[in-house]
Symmetry: D3
Subunit: 318 residues, 6 copies
């Protein structure tokens, strides 16, 4: 039976626009909260965009997603799931990350995540730019002792070689870095939705050389999303898997509020369906990144992001 | 032959952004106008959002839709119809509805609609929030003496049980109330496009128990819109039918300006096609509701709403 | 010495855009929190706009003001005050107010405020529309047993006679109602900044008849704000006084996000100066109302509102 | 006693956002309306920006100003005037002006205005760009048989020599053209508020040579607005005078929605006060031009424009 | 081997938001530049909307598209093409077109294009409204001595009869005019994507009478885009062909920033795919028109437009 | 006599919205341009916000300011100056600054500025965040061999102690750092316009201890801007002086597009007047920083910024 402490208030009791906005209106449990140890899935924000090569603003993502997520109700109409009853989920707060010091910022994030993992909590990270993902990958690797698989829904591979004359830590490199550092098992990595222009083909070539399965958007549209997600499931199998959702996976008409949009992407229906199809995988952690509120219009990107978060939480249900 | 009095000025004579904006640039005939009795389809606004549980602003809908609808030209490119020639259609004005007194507001609306029906005019209501629909249902029921069918295009069933500790008159309840009050024949009700999160399943269960046919978005996408609309037509048959179009039926990328958007919805092409497929039904009244201009971006929701209104007027052609 | 529990985190430790946003980043103490009894000034939201005659959206005010207020730092540059050290201030949360049932909404608000006053906390209410103020006036009256004075900074008197055929409870009536119900001592009421168009002069006449001092904007501009505020201080004297700040007091160039703006108002500098000049009065409660985020542009209204809140908290320092 | 036919509905009866929006909610009397002959002041739109050298969009001005003007109430709080009781004022509609043919557009406008003047109606024109003013000047000149004075509130003189290799009919030339064509008596012309950058000084020099009194913004700020408007009154005296208000007179913080803003302008309070000080002049016609809705933010420019229109109508009271 | 002079700087060297924005960050070669003669494809702007019947603003299109196009990288992820290596492409600047004198404006544009063609440069025109296309058609016809084919991707045929009482030169007429003037071979013209409302059927009828192949959106959706583009290729064959892309071809959810949007259009993926399928045709010139930045939201229309431009440049590769 | 090469095209020849946008439409002279050595005042962009503690986006400043500055005409209406005739001014382009590596970014900026100074060009820097100023201060110091004076127009002193646990290089520290590094002579530094909240008083205290003259906004308003600027001139005297203008000096109603706005600031008229009063000082360099386009509304901040830039160029006239 579900614990009332971990249930969000209903919008028919407290209107959805009311109250201090935590993620999904769940209880906010900072590090020293006595009940934090009971949490099964912990949502936290990494409000940081210090690795962004183009338009910034993802540092404001967690705030906007907390706000938008208060519109989420308890039940998944499509699947019948009630994720807040199925697991004890909470808002663990944001990490203090210096906007002007990458080392300190990443270090603080990793220390926080280490604490989360140390309490046996499955991490759900809300970015922040995509380099934030690397902090989760590193700590998961450290905690588990071996590499794991990846499902990436994104318009970019983020496998690029160094930027700006040698920078290996930008939001275009986290998965290359994740492979180089041994966090990810490239043979169990699948990347879906790639499109747009590129500097060159070095990222794809790197991925192919390592054995990563890349599914560009043209292949997605040709095969259909059901088939694509079957491929994705086959690649990762039933081993431990991390899921990363970059909001620029979705077409900019649906998600204008992001730093590096690429036209020609999937609809929100397709995006939701992709996430839903991940259910049953052994998801050891997940994230939603690259929502940049200053470039959003009418809050539709944050609302889509909050909806994706809900579906990810459903997919993580055991 | 069509009456020149009821023809809107052409945009090649008077530019579309010019002039006092009535719905579709049609003649504005307030209650005391001598030619009001000639009207066959009367468009009127219920500028009221006093039953809105979430983001308000639908009270500004009729104003924005009048403005946007001046962009509509005379002819339906796809069907060849010219609805303003096929029937005498007019703008009947807005009802004075108190924003702070639900009883008075609904009462005024019903009195106005009673007058419209009394003149033999088919009603086309422009909301306002979805509870406004109930005022039309009630008066149609009173005028006709028996229940009728419903086609609802929406992301919600609006069959929810009472809100906020007992409120039966919110924008989440109109069709439950319409069934309870005997306006609607549940066996001839079909609801298309449901999705998103829900408080629980009580609305679906209520509908199923009563015999309402509910087609969630997943079923729509699987069957295809042509098949779905065939189902819809079969449910209502050739008996008298009301058509209600909630703008949140369409995906928020296409219709951000609404109070309770749900991601993962149809495109504007699909939405238009759904409406177009209703032609030939015995449509005794229709509405377009829940356009909330303060949440619109660039006026695209109002423009889509005006386009849907035009298609509904074509579908109502006898 | 100030209690660390009641200090907001510094923006140089946790960036100001990070974290769950409570008012001024102060601790959030819901009704059952063990330390609530220690609070001296309690900030709470009434997210409700059910009495709004024109453009809605003030129900979203508390959320937007919490967000914007995280930009506030600890110290008042102009006065040297550090209000969070001078008093124990906290965020008490929002009241659950039904958007569709005025009686229930006002009743819930009054019950909440009764609790706040019962704990000896000075109330700082964040609206919501201006009728929300009436709930505070009523409970302060009940708790204190006698009427008190008022400083109103607003572009309207809110002394209007009933609206919409008899409604006495709209956002245009709270102070008339407050006088009628014996909450306010009209001889100790001063209203500053009135301007724009009016239905008639009934509101001014009512105020004059009762002895309220009204200072229209033309008089403000002629006398200068220093002189005006001396008048205001003289009217209320050193008796107990409530301060109400309607954001539409300020010119719409500075505060576009409100329901009923009036052009020709003061600048933000003048507005801040007015608030600052209230220091030393016996302020028994205060509010900031009528911020309507859907009509805001770039968040400047919310940011101004948060700045005004901070100055009000400084003015309330004993 | 005032004629009920010419009274706008009160916002306490019909909410201000409801109804088909005519200027100030006044009766809409197209050219063939039987009661048009009774009108004393006729407001009409020239939805045209075909002479705009920079950012377009003023063609959408009349629509936006009709919408915003429904927020205006009956009474001028500052002066006690009730202009709709003092004179029979109506909305005469918009002129059909081709956006792609300047000759036809100006010709249509002049023919319309000729009709208005022929019915003895004082014209109040709503632009459109500033060249629209020339059509009024020309027809007033033709109808009266002699030149008249001018009060211009603007950030530009609009006395520029031809643009783009010889164009004398752009929105930078109307008053030069008005002087050249003998519509205006330059010795009775005063221009207030000039500022910003200029191509050269040819416009000032032309004005000075003709005897026009130009008051740049620096002089306004130094003398104060009261003194400046006394100068303005002295220049035009009690002879017949036209008043033209370009919304870019006001600072872009107050009026962003215009084609050629200039920073460093007056506040809305000062602008309103300038208009108010014109009362008692023999105003034979007036206009409000250059509101460009596509560049407006949050509708504040349209709202300011509507407020200025109301003050102009009060100033025109005899 | 590609000439370094004609390569844009990489975003990993100079961030994409940095630098003076030329189209695609290519070298800017005004008419007198010594290397202009080497250019193979020349991109230039016609910043003019003087033929716009509805919402203006396309005059700001080239500026916005230069800005957005700096987000484009070197390589087409889908096709592997690197267009800036495959041909020498440059930004030739904008033509000075009077916004108030159609004759002068069109004359200047034609003179400029004549110069471009005289240097053997393939023209890529960036509008501006759709009448701008006529200037390219005329000069191509003059230079080549015979009519050519057309692929039009648009929601309108732009084959309308005269507007506003006889205007043949509006943005609704360029292709009718192009056929009438012998620029286009109607039997080799194909128009894809038509939809929405129309004044009448005169445009379709004109096209059919002349032998133009028109594919309305319903036919597109039924046949699928692959089949439609095969039809398009068959119509134009391997003769010389002009390609015109009106941004209102795409649904307004994807491209809100345009003057005359029509709902129910293709997605950005479909639009990109259509362009891509044109590769191999003998494309003698191309354009992207009708981006109207004042009506854009969040820059998504400009970004889509820049992406379409890139695909067109790829399709033009020989 | 002025050199035609250095004159911007007139808006009456080439409309102001046309053409590739360089600063003020001046010639763009990258480092290797043969005529760069003739430049007297060089405007360049530092598109970088890597030291921003709060809302980012100033990296997009130079792009937006180039665009807005094309609205500037040749002549200063108020002073009669024609700065582009008085000196050879050019756009020197932007510096490539890594958004993810502060050391590299600052190093590149300094190397670029060193080159500019080496060519004897007076630098006009366009930010970017306020730390960008430090790069100019450092290179000016190195080139001149001794400290110089400063006029700062800002709402903050930017004299704060280290942020985020020891960061001395943030946008809150440049002038403290400039003093510590011996670039600035504190006795010849004046800071005008300080206001808002602060973490503590350490910045003021530091300035006072060093002998910096700080004029908070309250003092400005009390003394009047003329008197304040006389104080400022007296502090710097006729020695070499750097002028830095942070756009957040102006009230957010006038300049919403900035990262850390503070309400209660001067109007645009006052701000312009302050800049104008600097004429005659020995200005060795200047900047305009902290314009953040993602937070701008309607481009008014960029337009104000461009206007301030023009006035600064006039003030720099010798």
């Amino acid at each position: 039976m579900s614990d009332p402490f971990f249930q969000p208030p209903s919008g028919t009791d407290l209107p959805r626009y009311a109250g201090v906005p935590s993620f999904m209106r769940l209880p906010y449990l900072p590090p020293d909260h006595p009940r934090r140890g009971e949490v099964e899935i912990g949502i936290f924000g990494l409000p940081w965009d210090g690795a962004t090569s183009n338009r910034p603003g993802a540092r404001h993502g967690p705030r906007a997603l907390r706000d938008a997520s208060t519109m989420i109700r308890e039940r998944n109409r499509a699947t019948g799931q009630e994720p807040f009853r199925a697991a004890r989920i909470a808002d663990l707060g944001d990490v203090a990350m210096s906007p002007v010091d990458q080392d300190e910022a990443l270090g603080n994030a990793q220390a926080f995540i280490r604490g989360v993992l140390g309490q046996g909590i499955r991490p759900f990270m809300v970015g922040g730019d995509h380099l934030c993902t690397l902090t989760v990958l590193r700590e998961l690797r450290a905690a588990r002792g071996e590499p794991f698989g990846l499902v990436l829904l994104d318009s970019h591979t983020d496998l690029y070689p160094p930027y700006f004359g040698g920078q290996t830590l930008t939001h275009g490199n986290p998965f290359r870095q994740g492979i180089e550092e041994g966090c990810l098992d490239p043979a169990r990595c699948v990347m879906v939705g790639m499109r747009g222009t590129s500097y060159n083909n070095a990222d794809f070539q790197y991925g192919w050389d390592k054995g990563v399965r890349i599914v560009p958007i043209e292949e997605c549209m040709e095969l259909g999303w059901t088939a694509v997600m079957e491929i994705a499931r086959a690649v990762v199998g039933d081993g431990p898997t991390y899921v990363s959702f970059d909001i620029d996976f979705v077409d900019p008409a649906y998600a204008p509020g992001t730093g590096t949009p690429e036209v020609g992407g999937p609809t929100s229906f397709d995006a939701i369906r992709c996430v839903r199809s991940l259910r049953g995988l052994d998801i050891i952690g997940a994230d939603l990144v690259e929502v940049s509120p200053p470039f959003d219009t009418g809050g539709i990107t944050a609302w889509l992001g909050a909806s994706v978060m809900f579906e990810l939480l459903c997919a993580m249900q055991k």
